[in-house]
Structures are given as C-alpha cells and as structure tokens.
C-alpha cells in the first residue's frame, strides 16, 4: 500500500497495531469492572506528568509513568476514606491533574504546538524508541494479566468471593489499576490523552456485544483494537485529518454498528425479537 511507503508511516503502523492490541486486552478488564471513568481520569491526570517530564528534560514515559503510578495509589487511598464517593474523587483528580498540566505548559511558554500532540496524539512522529517502550509495556502488562488472569476475573465477577477465599483484593485492584495506567501512558503518543480512553473501552465493549465467552471476547477486543488502529491511520493519511481522531472514530463506529446490529444483543435484533413475539 503506497500509504506506508515512508519510514515514519511504517513506524506509525507498528505503533497503532501494538497500541490497539494492548488496549484491547486491558480494555476487557476495564469494561468488566466498569472502570471507564477511572481510566478517563487517568488519561487526563497523567498529562501533567508528561509536561513535567518534558520541562525537566526527562524521558516522557518515565515522567508519565511515575506520576501516574503515584496517582493510582492516591486514588486507591482516597477511595478508602469516609465522606468521599468513588466518582467524585475520580472527578477531582481528573480536574486537578489536567489543570496542573495546563498551568505547567502555559508557564513554560504559553501554549506550544506540543499541546495538540499531548491531547490528540501525533502517531506519525513516533520514533523507534517509542515503539520499544510500547512493546515493552505491552509484554509486561500481558504477562501480568496472564499470571493473575483468573484471580482478576474472579475479582471482577465476585469481589466478596475473592475476599472470602482469602485473596488480597485491594492489592489485586491496585495492580490492575497500575496496568491500566501503564497502558494509557503507552497509548498517549498514538492517540493522545483525551482519546486513549476510546481505544481502551470501545473495542472491548464492542466485543462484549458479540460473545458470551471471556476468551472470545478478549481475542475480539485485541483484533478490533488493532483494526481500529490500522483503519484509522489509513483514513487519516488519505483524507488528511488527525490520526488519533480517525482511529477513535473507527473504534466508536465499530461499536455503534455492533450496538445496532449484533445478532443477540444489538438493538435491532431485540426489536425484531419483540416484534416476533407480539
């Protein structure tokens, strides 16, 4: 395909395939545990970490990663305090993080071109180093999810059952939250801070509409994530729009189509079903 004749386009392709697949796998856990808002908050609140790292001249991933890990621990701690409810805490952290990032960025030199890269991604500017980080994070997250998979699924399905079996439920939660944060950090170059949630949630939510089985759902999510990356990148090259936005629109589009048309759980099939009974 002539679209990928340039090296930067080829690198972008590898990046979106890797990121899409990783987001798919992690997305399954996010969807099953209803952690979409938390993930949203993580993508926003990681932003200042990236800015700080850029300001200090540190590796962006390191800055984002360390900052994000601290945030996860802060949120986990706040969730256990009285007087707070989950979603408000997440909302406060989201606002605080993002505002901090904006302030830092504007302090540096007003707003620069980098802002849109942070917000919506700039996948065509990824370097080999970024690919290595994405691959590394991907492997680490996959290993973690594979090792703890059965316990994490049990925790998602029946948290009190997990506790009564004697598992350290909170620790497992925190590990998963850290894995989500790591995924967000590696997705930011491709789709940016605001849109990475879509790549994590949409493929998995779409997959759920097609199957009752967790294993199938995971495979589908990975495929849909990678497909969204590929199709979005191609479209953005052909039409000349932001790659990050195009990728997300593909992912959301696939969801919308499935929401309408999936055999058992799509809206249309249920209308037909109801009409058939009537």
């Amino acid at each position: 395909m002539s679209v990928f004749s340039d090296a930067y386009a080829r690198r972008a392709l590898v990046e979106v395939l890797l990121v899409g697949a990783l987001c798919g796998v992690v997305g399954v856990h996010v969807v099953l545990r209803r952690l979409s808002f938390f993930t949203m908050s993580m993508t926003h609140a990681t932003f200042p970490g990236i800015v700080l790292a850029a300001l200090l001249g540190l590796n962006l991933y390191l800055g984002a990663g360390v900052f994000g890990a601290l945030l996860v621990l802060a949120i986990a701690w706040l969730w256990s305090r009285p007087g707070t409810d989950e979603s408000s805490v997440v909302g406060v952290v989201l606002s605080a993080g993002f505002a901090l990032g904006v302030v830092l960025l504007s302090a540096q030199s007003g707003f620069t071109k980098n802002l849109s890269a942070y917000l919506v991604g700039s996948v065509l500017a990824v370097q080999v180093g970024d690919l290595a980080v994405t691959a590394g994070v991907g492997v680490a997250v996959l290993l973690l999810l594979a090792a703890l998979g059965k316990e994490l699924v049990l925790g998602a399905f029946d948290r009190s059952g997990l506790r009564t079996l004697g598992y350290p439920a909170r620790l497992l939660d925190v590990l998963l939250l850290l894995a989500i944060e790591a995924t967000v950090v590696s997705a930011v170059p491709a789709v940016g801070v605001i849109l990475s949630v879509a790549l994590i949630v949409a493929p998995a939510a779409t997959a759920r509409l097609w199957t009752d089985r967790l294993a199938t759902m995971t495979v589908l999510a990975v495929g849909l994530g990678a497909l969204s990356g590929l199709a979005g990148l191609v479209i953005s090259q052909l039409v000349g729009v932001s790659a990050g936005a195009a990728i997300v629109l593909v992912a959301c589009g696939l969801f919308a189509v499935s929401w309408l048309g999936a055999p058992r759980y799509g809206v249309l099939s249920r209308f037909r079903h109801r009409a058939a009974i009537a």
């Binding site: 993930t39 707070t84 606002s95 605080a96």
Partner: protein, 299 residues
C-alpha cells in the same frame, strides 16, 4: 500586601470582567455541582463537557466567536437527550457507553478543528477557555443562564433531590424519573455552555464536581452543603484569578487563568479534606471522653 494580592488586580477593567464572570460561574457551579455529586453524575457531566466540543467548533466555523455559545447549546441539548435516553442495553454498561459517546463526539470536534490551519490555537481556546477576554455581552449571557438554572432548581429542586435519594419512591409517587433525569442533564449542559468561553470544555468539569465534593467533606446537611459549595465555587474563581495575575505581573509566568481557577478549587478541596479529617478525629476523641465518663459513673 493583601491589597496587592486581592484588590489591585481587579481594578483593571478586563480583570474586573473576568472576576464577574468567575463569580457568576462560581455560583452556578456551586449550586449545580450539588446535583452532580449527590447523583454521582460526575462521569455523565464529564461526558457532556466532551460531547459539547464539536458544537463549539461548528458554532465557531459557522458564525465566529459569537456562534460558539449556540453551537455548544445545540450539542449540549442533543447530548443531554442522548445520554438520558441511551436505551439501557444490558450488554453495554453505562460507563462504557458514556466513554464511547464522549470520545466519539470529541473526535468529531478534533477532526473538524484539524482541517484548519490555526489548529493548535483554536483547539486551545475551545478546550481551555479565555476568561480574560470575556466581554460585557458574555457576562450577561452567563448571568441569564445562572438565573434560568436557579429558577429551574427552585421549581424542581425537591423532586430532583427525591430522585437522587430514592428513585424507586419517586417513581412510585408518580414522578417520571426519566424526565427528571433529562432536566438534571439539561441543567448540567447549560452550565457547560455558560462556562465554555471562560474555562473551556475540559476544565468545566472541575466547576461541576469540586465545589460540592469539597462541601460534602464538611457537612451532610443539604442547605449547608449548597452554601459551602457556592462559597467554594466563588472563592476558587476569585483566588484563581488573583493568583494568575500575581504570577503574570510579579513573576513573569503566564499561567492559563482557567486552569489556575481549577487549581484554586482543588486547593480548597484539599483544605476541606484536612478540616474534615481533623473534625472526625476530634469527634472520636470527644466520644471516647464521653464513654470514659459513663464508665466512671457506672463504677
């Protein structure tokens, strides 16, 4: 020193206007955030701030700066309806649906913006606002929205409260819960529209959550909650603007004012958190002393 910090900045006309806008938004946010926090609508509200974005862009493309509010309004109402009416497909949890809806809409906005050459500057203004450039007309618009929202809440406030607390009872009493939800979502949407010029779509969420979240840490009584929430909202606006001015004039740092307002709100949240924790600890000590007295009496 206090004069320099707290009064001097606002002698400048543009700062005075910004302050007026910030105070109005503080009242608006303070009141509406109570519904958001009590109903745990934080994510729905966040979603609304993102789904409004393409409306902002379209309004601007069609009619320049004046069109922003109308574009935002249109998409806000559309979003409020969609988010309320979202057929509860059992397979799609509400949070996943919200995340997908908001990022999808937001992407549409990004695509529209990315076709223009002034991409970054426009994106920035839409997302983060320019409170320092509000003019008299915009202040009036915000005042109108505030009045409308307060009127709506005065009329259906207790019904919304009932629905928040016990939707089953509300339905049993004959209230159309879906309709009440729609009203609540429209109110939130209106706040987003009012605030979009000042603080931008991304930071509005802070106005919609932080004031009441902070107040909630200090009290469980509704009337007090609303009062404290409004106090936090307005104080945050005031302090945020003052801080931004100080940084700019005396330290040479140009900080985005919308963001400093948000940081001021969060700082007030932290203060509330600490005060709340101290009060709980003090309360425990008082309870312990009471128990010791009772034991001593019984002995």
């Amino acid at each position: 020193m206090p004069y320099r910090l707290f009064v001097e900045p606002f002698q400048l006309p543009f700062m005075a206007r910004a302050l007026a806008e910030a105070l109005l938004l503080g009242v608006l946010g303070g009141v509406v955030s109570v519904t958001v926090v009590l109903r745990r609508l934080a994510f729905v509200s966040d979603a609304l701030t993102h789904t409004v974005f393409p409306g902002v862009v379209i309004g601007y493309l069609v009619a320049g700066t004046g069109g922003i509010v109308w574009g935002a309004l249109g998409f806000a109402l559309l979003s409020a309806v969609l988010l309320t009416v979202l057929p509860s497909n059992r397979r799609v949890t509400e949070d996943a649906a919200l995340a997908i809806l908001l990022t999808g809409f937001f992407s549409v906005g990004v695509v529209l913006v990315s076709r223009r050459s002034s991409y970054t500057a426009d994106l920035t203004a839409f997302l983060f606002g320019r409170i320092l450039t509000v003019d008299r007309r915009e202040i009036v618009e915000t005042a109108v929205v505030t009045a409308v929202v307060l009127a709506v809440l005065a009329v259906v406030g207790k019904e919304l409260l009932l629905r928040a607390f016990d939707p089953g009872a509300a339905a049993a009493l004959g209230y159309r819960v879906r309709l009440l939800d729609l009203v609540a979502n429209v109110v939130v949407a209106l706040v987003v529209v009012a605030a979009v010029k000042a603080v931008g779509t991304v930071l509005v969420i802070a106005l919609l959550i932080v004031p009441a979240a902070a107040a909630r840490l200090l009290t469980g009584r509704l009337a007090v909650l609303v009062a404290v929430s409004v106090l936090v909202g307005t104080l945050g606006g005031y302090l945020g603007l003052a801080a931004s001015y100080q940084a700019s004039v005396y330290y040479g740092l140009r900080l985005a004012s919308g963001a400093t307002v948000v940081l001021a709100l969060v700082a007030l949240y932290v203060v509330a958190f600490v005060v709340g924790a101290l009060r709980r600890a003090g309360g425990r000590r008082r309870a312990d002393r009471r128990e010791a007295d009772l034991v001593a009496e019984a002995a």
